[in-house]
């Protein structure tokens, strides 16, 4: 039996269905991300687990215990809020000690656990400071220490890195992963940042419009998205629309492409389909080897890589190339593109999106 079980969870706000029939199992010690754009229901799901929102239907079980009707303060979960929500009038040590006070942990034991929690997040030297005297990254760590010191059964992270600048965010990703593994705590992360979700989690649950779209390990989710939405949301993706005529794929403009055979029962068995292709799988080749040729429409330099937009007979394609220190084709130049057919993913086109 799973450690955390979300069983057919739904939440409606009036006519608006925020979460619809959402089920997810999380194993003990696992790090799972709820990933999706804003308004996809991921935060509502977190709020229901935390006990700040009551599910319209469905149940939440943690370690075999049904949480319905249990008040937020009795659930014993550690939560890191997007704004960190540190108590500004308390020092770092007092912030961390708050949860212990509520559990009537006193004296030496209280001191020892505060020290251990601050040690875990590498902030022992700042115990006497007030939150306002700390940097964003340090506040983030205090929030983590405060959530972990109560030895929660479950750690909930609500977009914990979204308020940090890009460089710090990368550092904190590594740090967060280390802390989570050291503490060995089962963790659920809510984020709209696909890089964050992929870097941190054992498993990603992609959400869209209140429903679970795909649930897989990060590599699996990136390599084998099961829907057009998951494909476009996790990283960049090119979409080539068309249909199968016999074993061959024909784009809507009539170009024939070699593509993997569609699954017998899945997408592409009949009607319109979509091929998803990652931009980094497209190579620049000699004319003779080209799958398609096209003209560079736009070119963006991103430091470690180049991003090209190429107009081709199968549509505009995004292509990324590692910056190898060579001159790259200018906008307007003709380029020849090729890819291995097994890098194409056959998906059902997104309904009306």
């Amino acid at each position: 039996m799973a450690y955390l079980e979300l069983d057919h969870l739904s939440k409606a706000f009036g006519p608006f269905q925020a979460v619809a029939d959402f089920s997810l199992d999380v194993a003990r010690g696992e790090f799972v991300s709820l990933l999706g754009p804003s308004g996809c229901g991921k935060t509502t799901t977190l709020q229901m687990i935390a006990g700040f929102e009551e599910p319209t239907s469905g149940t939440i079980r943690l370690n075999g215990r049904d949480l319905s009707g249990v008040a937020a303060r009795d659930r014993g979960l550690g939560i890191v809020f997007q704004t960190y929500a540190l108590f500004p009038h308390m020092t770092v040590a007092e912030n961390v000690g708050f949860g212990l006070d509520m559990r009537k942990v006193r004296g030496k034991e209280r001191k020892r656990r505060i020290a251990a929690a601050l040690e875990l997040v590498h902030l022992s030297h700042l115990a006497g400071r007030h939150p306002r005297q700390l940097s964003g990254g340090q506040r983030q760590r205090v929030a983590l220490a405060r959530a972990l010191v109560i030895e929660p059964e479950l750690l909930l992270l609500d977009e914990p890195l979204s308020n940090l600048d890009a460089k710090l965010r990368e550092e904190m990703q590594l740090e967060l992963r280390r802390i989570q593994q050291e503490a060995g705590v089962t963790t659920l992360l809510v984020t709209h940042d696909q890089n964050e979700a992929m870097a941190l989690s054992d498993r990603i649950a992609v959400m869209h419009a209140g429903t679970l779209v795909q649930e897989a390990a990060p590599f699996e989710a990136y390599e084998r998205p099961t829907t057009a939405f998951a494909s476009a949301f996790l990283g960049k993706s090119n979409a080539i629309h068309g249909r199968y005529e016999g074993p061959e794929f024909v784009t809507k403009d009539g170009v024939r492409l070699a593509a993997p055979a569609p699954a017998a029962d899945g997408a592409g068995a009949a009607g319109d389909v979509m091929l998803a292709l990652r931009p980094e799988r497209i190579l620049f080749v000699e004319e003779a080897d080209a799958v398609v040729s096209g003209k560079v429409v736009e070119r963006v330099f991103l430091g470690d890589q180049w991003l090209f937009k190429v107009a081709t007979p199968v549509g505009e394609l995004l292509v990324t190339r590692r910056n190898g220190g060579h001159a790259e084709p200018e906008p307007g130049a003709t380029v020849h593109l090729a890819w291995a057919a097994d890098h194409l993913r056959v998906l059902a086109p997104e309904a009306a999106a």
Partner: protein, 280 residues
């Protein structure tokens, strides 16, 4: 454009309306006064010595500050929870409530105080009602007492406190309440340990406003306190207009100003030190 030039009209107004009269009052307080000679342009500290050596004035100053303190305490007790509920209301109920809270300020001070006189008098509404119900045999004196002044002043001062505390509550991150809840705190604990300490800057600024306005208020104490219960402001008025001893009145006014300033600065220091984290 030069910022000094832009603020010149305000500075001129401030100078003419406040600084000049204040300096003139200050100078006036060193002059002397004779019943037959009027104001004499001498220069000495005798007015201050008169005030500071006379028990009569100590009583008046003591009463004034006691009234101001009582009003401040009442406003904190009433205003803080009011602000707390205001913060938790829905937008449209809140705007109606703000209007109700501001109500006392919308009514002229004389009209408002006369209303209190109707309520508080020996034959007033409260006493008549209590006597008709048989709860009192003789009227309970509320007019011409310090208590009456406190009640009437608190009525008009509460809005200042509510607005100040409300402003502080709005600066709070609502997630701190959720965080405390997730850590196992009950509602009462959250209020005492999370909400209230963060509201302290508002309570401090509100109490500074209420205390200084109450200590220097004139119309309410003069109508409710009458001739009997004198406060500093009514004493200054009497010195200026009845005794015509302007220099003594000026000295009392200056002493009130300095005393209020000293109390406010000290109070500010004490609270700021206590709640260092919130104020930085």
């Amino acid at each position: 454009m030069n910022p000094f030039l832009l603020s010149a009209p305000a500075l001129a107004l401030f100078g003419v309306m406040l600084v000049v009269p204040l300096i003139m009052t200050f100078i006036l307080s060193f002059h002397s006064f004779g019943f037959y000679t009027g104001i004499e342009f001498t220069f000495g500290l005798h007015n201050y010595i008169d005030v500071l050596t006379d028990d009569y004035f100590y009583e008046i100053f003591g009463r004034t500050f006691a009234i101001a303190l009582a009003v401040t305490v009442i406003c904190v007790i009433i205003g803080t929870p009011m602000a707390f509920f205001l913060q938790r209301m829905r937008a449209w109920t809140r705007s109606i409530m703000v209007l109700i809270v501001l109500g006392p300020l919308l009514v002229s001070v004389v009209v408002r105080t006369l209303g209190w006189m109707i309520l508080l008098g020996n034959n007033g509404v409260i006493n008549s009602a209590l006597m008709d119900m048989g709860l009192l045999t003789s009227p309970f004196r509320m007019m011409y007492t310090s208590g009456g002044i406190v009640v009437a002043l608190a009525h008009v001062m509460v809005p200042f406190m509510v607005l100040a505390v409300w402003a502080a509550l709005q600066r709070q991150d609502p997630a701190t309440i959720a965080a405390a809840e997730s850590l196992g705190a009950r509602r009462s604990t959250i209020f005492r340990r999370v909400v209230l300490p963060q509201a302290m800057p508002g309570i401090l600024s509100g109490s500074l406003i209420v205390f200084s306005l109450s200590a220097s208020s004139f119309a309410t104490p003069s109508l409710i306190g009458g001739r009997r219960v004198k406060v500093v402001a009514t004493t200054v008025y009497d010195e200026f207009l009845n005794t015509l001893n302007w220099p003594l009145g000026a000295a009392i006014a200056i002493i009130l100003l300095v005393a209020v300033l000293v109390i406010m600065v000290t109070w500010n220091r004490v609270v700021e030190r206590q709640f260092a984290g919130v104020f930085q």
